[in-house]
Subunit: 267 residues, 4 copies
């Protein structure tokens, strides 16, 4: 169990760095996973830029986005984005919130983001748009209240990506690697759509093509190929996360897990 | 013969890396050559990102895109693109399939890609567009069936580059270096045409200019100059492929070749 | 006191390099701070490109933009931009003048720069445009005369960023880190607005959203997160400034400060 | 004299690398200087990509673009661009021919390149457009014949930059550093104009502003600042040219010079 958790923590630090290194995230945005041993929790870093995340930065939260143990440092303000999606979507095990410069123009104009090339459907066959004004009026645009997180999760619905008007986007995945794949290739699709619309009238994939292309692109083989590629690029840049250490932490973590499991089994 | 083959394998790994390093390929896409000793075969990597390809990753395929010996790892799904072009075009000895972000807008809008500067005609004087819908209806857009590969090769016809609607492009060359040159400068032409069309009405090269410029740019001198440049850039980035090793493989390969040659001479 | 000044000098060299490294400044433009011990002075580098600035390059100027001691090297021609803003705005403690390629299109077309995503309001809720032609007619567009600096500061008014027609922009901050944050994210907002307007009609933040988002984004937590990110990126690129040295300089500087303070207390 | 020539050779190799490293040149294009000791000759590299040029690659040509001594390697095909400008313009001592992706859209659409920011006038107050079709009909677009070079130089006239339809641009300077400055900032102006025109109607500098801004920006101080910046960037990338060596070459060169001078003084 310690191994599973340690591996997950390392992979999550890695995923944060990959998505930043590939240009989707800058100093802001965040990536989380559902706790591999306890579906009622999720792992998310303390308030730090994604490209700098180390396994030791990862904190545990309940699905109400409360820290399991009081953290020493600051926490991200928008964790409800993660918690509320995990609550609403048992099939989702990883979430990324970002402000990609390729995706934002769709959030600023309201023009629909559509799959325009064979890999585009990995963002889901339809990408809904959530506008904080609809339910909450004039806000500072941050998603920090539980009701804001729930509203966003509701608009996401059964899809895999939701645009957030004047703010950014949130992407979900069944696994962490699927999430990374969906995030990076939806960013690529947005860039290609932007460039295409500057040129002329676009012809997007039709419904049947989207339906066929999405599972095809999410097969293990292309996902493994991309993962090796992104990891190698990070490695070449000297930017891999440090290895998980702190036996103590792991032990403590295991103890906590054991308690939770004990508590849960008592119910 | 072992030397010729080893050299070809090294050059093919190098070409994969150059095209990726220059920004035309990302984690996906692939580059192949016709087997230097057996025109009825071609060399293509196992399923791996182009920037990571090593000579040891290269597999041999028949022109029906069947592996000559059962491979240990995965194979690219779209190898028929390569095999069918080698079958249809005896003058072609190298093929690249890619999803360049500069070329894709032409595949999404259907606006013709045209040579707009003196180096543009290296993509060929005319660039046809193939649409999977025309013959195959609603697919996942991947070119995996022999009939799909043959259809694509038919649209390529006597040209050197074919756009693939909602997917990408495929480029052919008489030699590997010519292919790399055609691929990188068609990508450049696409980028310049995109930027020009955002500015105003373009004036492309006329038919006579295209006809004169293509052979001029494909002379040995400019191609050698560019090859030295791309190779040096790769070298500076510490990204050259490892040298060909595995005497065993080579020996085995030679034995296979000898058998094939023996078999062929018997006919 | 020597520590405070030394720290400020190091931070100012660092800020110059960060803003350049993040692509807002190139070989030109400059960043200053109000003197941490004497509000009647400011610190600005000798004439040198921002990405190369070392603590030893920093000179002291009066708010009339006269050097406190005759400098050995050249001085920037446009220092009045800094001096006049410090004179007009006691709340401003740091100023950056730049020619960002994302912001310049707004200075060339006169199209208003508006906050289009949640972080945009860090450039201020309104960004005025100053045109040298209005008061000074046909000039070489450089802001070098005191009256030109005062005119620019007047157009800046109570805001935090002013566009300069056919020239660039000037950004102000209450602290150096706030200035860097405002500079880099106004550049990001400009890039996103540019890309959005190429796509369609934009929907910017409304007045109430701007008012709420600005203070939210300028809280210590996001600013600290970004500062760690930018500093780490600079560090990885081997581009941090050299440490402050020259005990002599510091001593001399302290003596000067003591004299000024003595003089000022005598008044 | 040997020192002057060696220094010039090193600077020319450096200038080639700077212009390439700053993204104006890729594998193609070239930079030359008039021979520092003999105005009837110029120095230009053998056929090699600009970012790789070493002092030892530099050849001497007469103004008719004939090599002074038979070169061992290949020569650039378009040297008449350089020779013909040196013939027509005694005030020009350095020339760069390039295919910048920011400038090319103006060569493809015929839309005038205009100074849109204070540094823009370093490309000259007016930038004429030359079209090979006007005098030579349908060519391969390369400028290789003396009459083509002369025609181009005639269109350049008294200006400092000439656009070449469907091909690229050529820039001239009174000194090598001025040439580099004009080349890099005309490229920047083109990029800013492109981005501005995608946004709305541009307001370029008027004639009086251009006239005042050009000499202002070409003063020694800004040019020195930029030169230090570009050189440092090249140094950080490990891409400075190797030092001039080959005493023999220099000696031979000096001998040639002495002979030329002797010959010239005899006239």
């Amino acid at each position: 169990m310690a191994d599973t958790l340690n591996e997950a923590r390392y992979e999550l630090a890695l995923a944060n760095r990959i998505i930043a290194h590939e240009g989707v995230l800058d100093g802001f945005g965040h990536v989380s996973i559902r706790h591999p041993l306890d579906p009622g929790r999720y792992l998310l870093a303390r308030s730090r830029s994604p490209e700098l995340i180390e396994p030791a930065d990862l904190l545990e939260f309940t699905l109400d986005s409360e820290p399991v143990t009081p953290p020493k440092g600051d926490m991200y303000g928008e964790r409800v984005i993660h918690g509320c999606i995990y609550q609403a979507r048992p099939d989702v095990n990883a979430v990324c919130h970002h402000h990609s410069h390729s995706v934002l123009p769709f959030c600023v104009t309201g023009i629909p983001l559509e799959p325009v090339f064979h890999m585009g459907p990995v963002m889901g066959q339809v990408v809904p748009l959530w506008d904080s004004r609809d339910e909450f009026g004039d806000t500072d645009l941050m998603v920090v209240k539980p009701e804001e997180g729930r509203s966003l999760a509701k608009t996401l619905g059964p899809h895999w990506m939701v645009l957030m008007a004047r703010h950014g986007a949130t992407v979900a995945g069944r696994t962490l690697r699927e999430l990374v794949f969906r995030t990076i290739y939806s960013h690529a699709n947005a860039e290609i759509q932007l460039r295409s619309m500057a040129l002329g009238k676009i012809g997007a994939l039709n419904a049947a093509e989207r339906q066929r292309a999405e599972p095809r692109q999410l097969q293990p083989r292309p996902m493994a190929r991309a993962w090796e590629y992104w990891t190698t690029r990070l490695h070449k840049a000297g930017a891999l996360p440090p290895p998980v250490k702190s036996r103590t932490t792991v032990t403590r973590s295991n103890k906590r897990i054991s308690k939770v499991r004990a508590r849960r089994s008592r119910r």
